[in-house]
Symmetry: C2
Subunit: 520 residues, 2 copies
């Protein structure tokens, strides 16, 4: 029998498989896991004060590190608190290994207060779920969880760990299990799709998933340049590489009206690692399916296939001698005067540091951001893949853990900030280089817009009250300082620029409460 307990075998196996960070919000049933951290020096434990921060940080970490972090969650309610950001991770195809502590196997029969149906909640994520009932199996189950999380294209794996499996003696480590890699697209499909581009009819190419990195973007740009096809990135990519020296490919719009404009006249939609365009929500009397009438959809690659390779093969057929169109280095001039939805993005474009990571939850405030940053130095942008708000601060936190040498910029709307605000405390604790620009428009501005768009009788006082965040105004400077993050307030473009430069120059987290009126 080994000298490891279950928790020790688990953490050792995770580390051997390359999982080196565990974002944690533990409780009593996880205490042996917590104690075991001191026996495996390679595993870093990062504490968060709420599980939505834990799971969002794991999402942000993996989007940047290209490998999973672990989470440590306390029974069903802990998993529930983390569920919204796991939903976003599911949509991002992010590999995450959840370790959810549970009551000891023999204790479950007593239906103690924290007993609940963990499998049902974990199962809603449509990932991988296993309960590790016996100490000797914990290592093997952990290795299986890591592999499952990394099976192309990536997903959420949840390992339920009963307390007695964790504390029991006789734990056995397990060697890493190779995950299922992305399969190549067959040659016939490549050839057929290449012919669509060559047929002389208007084509839109919609790319997503792993094709949103440099190689995929270059292939897509070559295809567009050679064939005249329009090319778009999916509306909410998990990670999009952008900036000077990379192809600047427009994202498909969030609003159906935008998409209709973008796809006007298109006869063929080729999707590569993305879904055919659908409306984010349904609206009375408007179509959900945004593929233009009469247009045909062709799938080049599913999200779990080798999208970039397939795109490159198509490009080699239709654009053999064509170079991609790359964005030139170009920054907007620094604006002046009171902050507006139009000018704040120019401050970002003017000052974005080299190699930055943007965690974007600016929502309506950020509609003009892409233009302002297209020629900025090369950067990654992470977006809200699943629509569950409260993602920005945690994802920025995890990204900063994954890339301590890169500046992380969290563009964060006020309405979404309060879901996971304690991420600021973890940023302070870990001294992470995260600069949060808090876009404080004192409203659920997107819902004001949506109230009109769904055709609901607009503007009753009670309805408007539920979309208003100005009574009382939140003071994000005080909230941030209360959590240990230095903070300032900007009401003019000059102030934002000055404060942003200072924040980027100083190590550790900063928050700028940017008072920007609503766009609409």
């Amino acid at each position: 029998m080994s000298e490891l307990n279950g928790a020790q075998s688990l953490i050792r196996t995770l580390v051997d498989a390359g999982v080196e960070v565990c974002f944690a919000n533990p409780g009593t049933s996880e205490m042996h896991f917590v104690a075991a951290l001191d026996t495996v020096p390679e595993m870093r434990g990062v504490l968060a004060l709420f599980e939505g921060v834990v799971t969002g940080a794991a999402d942000g970490y993996a989007r940047i590190a290209d490998k999973p972090a672990a989470t440590l969650l306390h029974l069903g309610p802990g998993l529930g608190n983390g569920l919204a950001n796991l939903h976003n991770a599911r949509r991002a195809h992010t590999p995450i290994v959840n370790v959810v502590g549970d009551h000891a196997t023999y204790h479950k029969q007593y239906d103690a207060p924290l007993e609940s149906d963990i499998e049902a909640v974990a199962g809603s994520l449509e990932g991988w779920v296993r309960r590790s009932e016996h100490t000797k199996d914990v290592g093997a189950d952990a290795a299986a969880a890591v592999a499952a999380s990394q099976d192309a294209p990536g997903r959420v794996a949840t390992l339920i760990l009963p307390a007695d499996a964790s504390w029991g003696e006789g734990g056995e480590t397990c060697a890493p299990i190779p995950p299922r890699v992305a399969q190549a697209v067959d040659a016939t499909t490549v050839k057929d799709v290449a012919e669509v581009f060559g047929a002389g009819e208007p084509v839109a190419l919609l790319i997503g998933g792993s094709a949103c990195r440099e190689e995929g973007l270059r292939a897509a740009s070559r295809i567009a340049a050679a064939t005249g096809a329009k090319v778009f990135v999916e509306t909410f990519p998990a990670r999009l590489e952008r900036g000077a020296g990379l192809p600047a490919i427009e994202r498909l719009g969030y609003l159906a009206e935008q998409v209709t404009y973008q796809l006007d006249g298109i006869k063929h939609v080729v999707v590569a690692g993305a879904k055919a365009p659908v409306s984010f929500f349904a609206y009375p009397g408007k179509p959900s399916d945004l593929v233009p009438d009469g247009a045909q959809v062709h799938t080049l690659a599913a999200v779990g296939q080798d999208i970039t390779r397939a795109l490159t093969e198509v490009a080699d057929l239709v654009a053999a001698d064509t170079e991609p169109v790359l964005a030139q280095a170009s920054r907007p001039a620094l604006p002046s005067g009171p902050l507006t939805p139009q000018n704040w993005v120019d401050v970002i474009g003017a000052l974005l540091p080299e190699n930055a990571i943007i965690a974007d939850e600016a929502n309506t405030s950020g509609l003009l951001l892409p233009t302002a940053t297209a020629g900025a130095p090369r950067h990654d942008i992470l977006t809200l893949t699943g629509g569950a708000i409260g993602y920005g601060m945690p994802v920025a936190t995890g990204a900063a853990v994954a890339a301590p040498d890169r500046p992380v910029l969290n563009l964060q709307s006020d309405g979404s900030a309060l879901y996971t605000i304690s991420a600021l405390w973890t940023q302070a604790r870990e001294n992470l280089n995260v600069t949060t620009v808090l876009l404080n428009n004192r409203a659920y501005a997107i819902l004001r817009m949506e109230l009109q768009r769904v055709g609901a009788a607009s503007g009753g006082p009670k309805a408007n009250e539920l979309l208003d965040l100005s009574r009382p105004d939140m003071d994000f400077v005080k909230i941030a300082e209360g959590m240990g993050v230095p903070a300032t307030r900007a009401t003019t473009a000059e102030e934002l620029a000055e404060q942003l430069q200072r924040a980027f120059a100083e190590p550790g987290p900063h928050l700028i409460d940017a008072v920007v009126p609503p766009l609409l």
Copy 2:
């Protein structure tokens, strides 16, 4: 065809069934519900910035109002964010009517970003779940939901409302449906249990649920006084009436060691609306079942039965001429000097106002509270029924909405506060009379204790790091002020007393950041 849309028929039906408050965190799919609020003046909408505040407030509201509130939640992620406090509500047998908006029925096939398995998550609550697919059925489904939530002993009912069912025309209201009332315990059981008390062996009576109100407490006290039985209240009652003029019945301890002491020598455990004692968590080598060896368990009443009536019938058999033992009015003297885990509770006991509601999430800091408040003016105490922390601030919020004329005191540990801290903003917005005493010991103190109790190798630096909240220290004065709640800091008993008196005297919410060292 009626002139109502689905949302209007829903809200009208809820109001007709007595549901007059909706705690809401809406999104696009709920916009017709939001718009419909202006057509039904009797329904009050209360906005929260996070769904855990919504569901916890609904729990607190119903514990005080004795009838359900509605919640308004945004698809699966919104329900997920609310799940932990719904878990607590499930354990409290609190009636709650969740309205979870979903995509339009015809939109679900497109698997848009926010699509997820709402039924799976709602089903984990083991309550009532229904999807209302057709506008004309929404009213009837709403009436069924209200009834289901109130079926004895009370539970969480979740109505999933597709956007097109909400916005469709032809909604029909539905008259209230009578819920299933608590059934009487049969006479044989009452007689058999009465004989247990009369048999001359040591008996412990454990009461819970609805028996924790005055009438049940009086019956239990009479039985104890007449027969010499020990009597206990379940460890975490949903609502316990206490104070001068009521029987002061000790609660069963949280720690197994306490329970073993409390039940020492007992041969019969009679349960009435409570479960037989079990350990909250399992611990290596320690029993989960806390019924003393050889003792027999007798069930007088299940939680869904008429517990109080059954207790009164037993009392009439075994204690016909015995009066209950009532707590005398008695307050501790106001202490002085630096705050300690021992003296802060005396400040509460000395100053608790008449008819207060205490939302207690003091955790380890509150171990000495019951003694200090036993002779205070009559009050209700609400406790953490399901063990999912982050309950105190939302429950206090909901209780204050239910009882605007009663002072609400939230005793709140720091570690638990950050889960649902934005409840403070809702308290400010609604000008609720909630006084929060934030017990700031800068640690997950309960986990420090549990790390020892589970026998985990204690005290490695990484393990201790994950239980420490002092790096950085949180400044709850700033956090509260940032959310619009006036706040002060107390480090001495004198300061706490002075600030508490001021907070109780002024209308609206207040927070006192009470710096109290850990008990252990």
